[in-house]
């Protein structure tokens, strides 16, 4: 069919595209522009400063710390939540008892606002009086200072993130599992495959498209999920648990430096572009057996 200009189609797209351009594309471009300008305060006019903001960025130890943290945060939360999500989906999809309750339990964190449950996690993590350390004390272990020790503060945040996300990702795996024919698993059983072999050779490869989808989502969340920082650590101690988006927020709304914040935003945008690129490379492979 000959492609042509189609007024009706563009009119249908108009509301969506104008909103997307106004709140996604335009601000993206503006971020790039703002990152090469500077002004003493928001009241003063901004002037072009070239790459000065980027030079400051490269010299900023907090920036590097935040990048490093975000890397570990992604590395720590993404595979763990995926592995747990798969395990949860397999459990819920299996014949053990109370699968309804299991599913409910795993899914519950998904509908709880991160910001409100963070206060409860604050209690879990509190040294001396916190639940975790009370429990550890029962077996004679002095629990760590979960949020106050720079070596484990980030890990503590990761645990909460995994708690929040695994059940959400479980749903995708559950949906995928239910599209798989049970006969495949019967066949593997008859052929004498062990549970582990069955998982490794059949279940996991067949879930691969789902895993890729979840992987991308989990990666994006690793950059965008900072709600709990506001309550738990505020990025501390000494930036040990600071993440890029939180640092952007701090810079823009605490230090009132929207220019440097824009520079940080550009770094975030570039990172996301890389994630997108990776996804596109993978997207061809995800249809490998269809």
């Amino acid at each position: 069919m000959l492609k042509r200009f189609n007024l009706k189609a563009w009119l249908l797209l108009l509301p969506a595209l104008s909103l997307l351009i106004a709140f996604t594309h335009w601000p993206t471009l503006k971020s790039f522009w703002r990152s090469v300008t500077w002004a003493r305060s928001d009241a003063a006019p901004a002037k072009f400063v070239g790459l000065e903001n980027y030079e400051i960025l490269l010299d900023d130890p907090v920036f590097w710390r935040v990048i490093e943290n975000n890397f570990w945060y992604a590395l720590g939360t993404v595979p763990t939540s995926i592995a747990l999500a798969i395990a949860m989906a397999l459990w819920v999809n299996s014949k053990i008892r109370f699968t309804g309750l299991l599913r409910l339990a795993f899914f519950t964190p998904t509908i709880l606002p991160m910001i409100t449950v963070a206060n409860i996690w604050l209690f879990f993590y509190s040294p001396n009086i916190g639940l975790f350390n009370q429990l550890l004390a029962l077996i004679g272990i002095t629990g760590p200072n979960w949020l106050g020790d720079p070596d484990i503060a980030l890990s503590s945040l990761m645990i909460m993130t995994v708690w929040k996300e695994a059940g959400f990702f479980m749903i995708f795996y559950l949906a995928a599992l239910q599209t798989l024919s049970p006969e495949l698993f019967d066949a593997a059983k008859v052929e004498g495959a062990s549970a582990w072999r069955m998982f490794r050779k059949i279940t996991f490869p067949l879930l691969m498209p789902t895993t890729l989808f979840v992987l991308i989502n989990a990666l994006l969340n690793a950059f965008k999920l900072v709600d709990h920082l506001f309550i738990l650590t505020k990025g501390g101690p000494n930036n040990a648990s600071n993440l890029l988006l939180y640092y952007i927020y701090e810079t823009a709304f605490s230090f009132l430096d929207s220019y440097y914040a824009a520079t940080l935003t550009v770094v975030m945008l570039v990172t996301l572009a890389i994630v997108a690129l990776v996804q596109m490379l993978f997207i061809d492979r995800r249809i490998h057996y269809r």
């Binding site: 042509r4 189609a9 309750l101 606002p113 604050l122 559950l174």
Partner: protein, 270 residues
């Protein structure tokens, strides 16, 4: 025999994990219904009280916050449904020059979520004079790439015969969308609505940035201010506040959990 053992261990871990997963909620119930001195101590026969709910309710305008959240989620949801339906239809059923480009423009938002652009979007909102309004909280989310994508996938599966039949019956462009595509995509709408509502009910960072006062502040931001650790944490009252805040969604979820999860799964398959 190893497989029996494996099964036992697996089953045990499943239950342990499930308990861990609801622990925060269980704790919230414990702390909310017991006097503050039991917030960090667990005694089986600690006295029950509603006092925490009273003081939580006293300390923050929960009703106002909840109303704001409801207004914001409603504005967002309805705009999303309309905007995404139109765009999804165009991308699924219309043949035109630049469709690929338009679709690519839409998909960008899947990567560049509004959360990333808080700095610029805040400036835009300032310019529009919409800071601290319900509309302002919703604006960056009114067009959802996820929704457009989901509806496009669904609309693509509608047989051409149905659309042709409707045309023969004399329906016009928007009429076809409204009378044919929308009803057929009902499960997708339901799934998307649930995902959207639970997302925006729980959204925090952008509302924090863009709301200043009780006039527009949603529950999450209200709760963050109410429970801010700076003011000294009082877990009993915070737990009570948390339960008040999540109560409506939690009850809805518990009642409709099967439907809820199915809808999420539906959204997940696409």
């Amino acid at each position: 025999m190893d497989s029996i053992w494996f099964q036992r261990v697996s089953k045990f871990s499943a239950y342990v994990l499930a308990i861990l997963w609801v622990l925060p909620l269980l704790y919230a119930f414990w702390a909310a219904f017991h006097p503050p001195e039991f917030a960090t101590k667990f005694a089986l026969f600690a006295p029950l009280t509603m006092e925490n709910f009273v003081s939580a309710w006293d300390q923050a305008p929960f009703f106002r916050y909840m109303l704001n959240t409801v207004i914001i989620t409603t504005i967002i949801l309805f705009s999303q449904l309309v905007v995404c339906t139109l765009a999804g239809y165009a991308l699924a059923r219309e043949e035109f020059l630049g469709r690929g480009f338009a679709f690519a423009l839409v998909l960008t938002q899947l990567m560049v979520m509004p959360e990333v652009l808080i700095v610029e979007n805040y400036q835009t909102l300032t310019g529009l004079n919409l800071v601290d309004t319900h509309l302002g909280v919703g604006l960056p989310y009114l067009a959802s790439a996820f929704g457009i994508f989901l509806l496009r996938q669904t609309f693509k599966t509608v047989p051409q015969e149905l659309e042709d039949a409707a045309r023969v019956e004399g329906l016009s462009g928007l009429g076809i969308i409204w009378k044919v595509f929308v009803p057929l995509a009902f499960p997708t709408y339901l799934a998307f609505s649930l995902v959207s509502v639970s997302y925006h009910w729980n959204n925090f960072l952008w509302p924090l940035v863009v709301t200043n006062t009780e006039a527009s502040r949603p529950l999450t931001v209200g709760m963050a201010i109410f429970g801010a650790p700076e003011s000294g944490v009082d877990w009993s009252v915070i737990s009570a506040g948390t339960l008040i805040a999540i109560g409506p969604l939690l009850i809805l979820f518990l009642v409709f959990q099967r439907k809820f999860i199915q809808s999420f799964m539906h959204a997940g398959i696409k």
